[in-house]
């Protein structure tokens, strides 16, 4: 019961703020709603027994990425509405319809397909450590070491790329 209340409240907030993100006119407000959205997603992670991910979500998304967005929104000041010009070849309505169609399809798959089959419950993977953080760390540094290193390389490349792109003169 408590779980249901928590889930539905969080889901309502997540979806509500997500809608606000894409509908608000003022971009700064949009960014703020995005932060709120991420905070509620983090709360959902706590509910799902993933406190480490929740902390990372707040730290990286809310504290890092979205601050970047805010910076860019403030730096990119617009004299005219960003949406003032519309390409005559743009067919926004078709996109909307297709998106809704995909949503219905996904919902159908989720409700009919997966829901009808009980998920395969494998035995919990035996890890030599307990605790959520320790387990994630263990996996990252054993089985997924190479992906982890690649991810860090990706971040390094992205960092250099961003500097090269944004700096006026090198």
């Amino acid at each position: 019961m408590g779980e249901a209340i928590a889930f539905y409240t969080l889901a309502a907030f997540i979806l509500g703020f997500a809608v606000l993100v894409i509908t608000t006119k003022d971009t700064v407000h949009s960014v703020l709603f995005l932060v709120l959205d991420f905070l509620f997603v983090a709360a959902l992670y706590v509910m799902l027994n993933a406190p480490f991910l929740a902390a990372i979500q707040v730290l990286v998304y809310a504290g890092g990425i979205v601050v970047l967005y805010l910076f860019v929104v403030m730096l990119v000041n617009l004299k005219r509405l960003p949406e003032a010009f519309q390409d005559p070849n743009r067919h926004g309505r078709i996109g909307l319809i297709l998106s809704v169609a995909v949503l219905l399809e996904l919902a159908a798959i989720a409700a009919l397909g997966v829901g009808s089959v009980a998920p395969v419950r494998t035995a919990a993977r035996a890890l030599p450590v307990t605790g959520n953080t320790e387990q994630v760390g263990w996996m990252l540094y054993t089985s997924y070491l190479i992906p982890f290193e690649i991810a860090s390389m990706l971040l390094l490349v992205a960092m250099i790329g961003a500097i090269v792109l944004a700096k006026r003169e090198l």
């Binding site: 003022d26 403030m74 730096l75 990119v76 000041n77 617009l78 004299k79 005219r80 509405l81």
Partner: protein, 375 residues
Amino acid sequence: MEAPTVRGEMFDTNELVINMGPQHPSTHGVLRVVLRLDGEKVVDTDVIIGYLHRGIEKLSENRNWTQIILLTDRMDYVAAATNNVGYCETVEKLMSLEVPRRARYVRTLLCELQRIASHCLWLGTHAMDIGAMTVFLYAFRERELILDLFEEFCGARLTYNSMRIGGLPMDVPSGWDKKVLEFCKIMDSKLDEYEELLTHNRIWIERTKNVGVLTAAEAIDLGLSGPPLRGSGVPRDVRKDEPYAAYDEMEFDVPIGTAGDTYDRYLVRIEEFRQSLRIIRQATEGLPEGPIVGKVPRLIKPPAGETYHAIESPKGELGYFIVSDGKSTNPYRFRVRPPSFCNLQALRRMVRGHLVADVVALIGSLDVVLGEVDR
């Protein structure tokens, strides 16, 4: 989109214009500095003055010669006695009056006390601008002692009106010289205290070294005088070059800087504290007996003619140019060469290429008093 916002102006171009002052905590009065910034870097500045203009020069043409002393108080209001001395000496020069030796000694003494008071104020506000708030209160604590001395001498603490043409309005109170010497002793130790907080402080050095460098040639071109000029290594000091009052009888050194940056100007002024104390000691210990006023006519009416006389105020060369028509009891033309005004010209040259934070440091390092700039 919404009405144009400040944000709009700010990021539209690469240049951002901000208006520092006239109401700003660190422009030392009502100075207005319009900064053109590229990010945090200053591209150009406009220094706008005139917010404290009271027309002292014009006003003086309608006052008699004695009343003007009171107006000069209001120019550099942190060194009022120096202004008085400068004015009185100019009129004396115009009238070829002889001033008794005791009066000249007291004038020297007052000028140097005033220099310390003014430098205390400079040190406090300069350090405050750079963020060292404690030095501010320490410096004001010592300035307070000087104000007490002045209060005992002439009854006022800020605008002294402490000179008369031809001498002094009153003799120094008895026992005053002992208090002055006592103050010198206190000041000696307090100076070390200031230096301990600043001179070797890493942050202070980083903030002031190589900030606002002026070469000797540039400083002369800009018409600087006083510590900003000496900080650039030009050994010009009116007290030494054209001695007035009793400076010809005093022994002191003129400190000069080498690099011409803010740090050197700071060191020059700190050393001036010490030299001033030296002069004060000599003047107090050697204070001669005798009259305090020379032979002054009842009605002061200088002969027709013009004269320029400069003294070394704490800020630099303070000159008075006075024209008398010989007929009326007020000057025909009265003009002041205010050191702060001339020194302020350097600001534009100095801030270019520096950061916003340096602007306040540089205003502080020039030590301008807006009362004197605008008059």
